[in-house]
Symmetry: C2
Subunit: 211 residues, 2 copies
DNA sequence: CAAAACATAGGGGATTTCCCCTAATTTGCA
DNA sequence: TGCAAATTAGGGGAAATCCCCTATGTTTTG
């Protein structure tokens, strides 16, 4: 770590008290200075464009632009600012999305402040950071996702199920036997690890966006 | 209509050809001039903030910011620019959402250009515009929505159904007879005008956000 | 080319949903 | 206070689902 020059941090979070507290904490550290703290994603993006901080610590849920929107813009304009998400979200899907958009670290707000310092130091060295717990969850999630390889016919069947058609109706529109649709249905439930129509519809509506 | 001064129009749509065509059409009219045409919602918002056109003709599906996002900002900053949505979407829920966010008119892209002129003239007079067909659909939709008065127990039952529980399992967690859950289910399907589990889950996931 | 995966279709049966109906209590509101 | 709505529960039966299984032809892939 360069002693003569503090690393420049931007904070974006729509909760003012949290923001002030975080700023104070970070500024106690010798290696970091907070150059700006803002309350929404648009302000964050403006500040990042203008000042290119070393690290942007972003909330996900923010007014106007979300943290996802901001990191997307950073990637688009190839800015050197590295993003750390600091969010209350515990949903592994959200976390996966954030990291795949190009963030270097993801911390939950309930983690210790030391974790943030650690994350910032690692991120500056070009490494990503994730708590051990989240890392486990994430790899399980990504592993489970790749097994969701639905075949073309299974996808078609699923989309009809999600639209509310019965097996008989699906068989008619796809010009197939009801038994074939029943098979697709069984295979879908096996692959997606659900037990009934409700689970299939849930998957179709929540995990994919094209229904 | 003021003859000496043309009304200033902004167009936002991510399809360039459509945009150019629309600009040409509008500029043939004597009463309107296109001050800007842009390809995404962020550019639209910037231009609206800067120039406050009389009317913004917006697509809904656009990069960076959606048309919904733009109209939300216009409302938030109380700008005088009036929004007309011009979209391919035919889904009455989308249309309802757009109008309830504060748009003055909604036109489908497949409607005649004259409709747009008519809509623009009405919008300038502070009136909203909707094709007769869409107006009928919309009032039916809004009427049907208010009848979706689900009782407390029906709502509970629905949320369990949407989570994938069977009637038997729901009966257990709610300490009721399976037959009671079956009744709730039947009543739900009647009220929501769907025919099966898939329809119930769809409603729970798409019409409410707390699942 | 051979193996694996996919798509098709059927048997058969347990379980669940779907959809009528009746009916007793309880709750809420005018 | 009284009536309407809500909640509970059940009978009964048709339909659909869920979940095993086998089997044959096609397509994809190493």
């Amino acid at each position: 770590m360069n002693i003569t020059e503090k690393k420049r941090i931007l904070i974006a979070d729509d909760h003012q008290i949290f923001r002030q507290g975080l700023r104070t904490l970070i500024e106690q550290s010798e290696n970091f200075e907070v150059i700006s703290d803002v309350a929404d994603g648009e302000a964050a993006w403006s500040a990042i464009k203008k000042n290119t901080p070393d690290i942007a610590v972003l909330d996900i849920t923010m007014p106007i632009l979300s943290g996802f929107d901001v990191v997307t813009r950073i990637q688009k304009y190839k800015l050197s600012t590295k993003v750390i998400f600091l969010s209350m979200h515990n949903d592994i899907k959200i976390i996966d999305r954030g990291l795949s958009l190009g963030a270097f670290a993801y911390l939950r707000k309930d983690e210790a402040f030391d974790s943030l310092i650690k994350a910032m130091e690692m991120v500056l060295r070009g490494k990503s950071y994730l708590s051990a717990e989240l890392e486990t969850q994430l790899s399980e999630y990504q592993l489970s996702r790749v097994n969701f390889n639905l075949t073309k016919r299974e996808q078609e069947t699923l989309s009809f199920i999600a639209k509310g058609l019965t097996n008989k109706e699906i068989a008619e529109v796809m010009c197939l036997s009801v038994k074939t649709i029943d098979n697709h249905r069984t295979n879908l439930m096996g692959k997606l690890d659900v037990r009934n129509t409700a689970g299939l519809v849930r998957y179709a509506l929540l995990e994919t966006m094209d229904v």
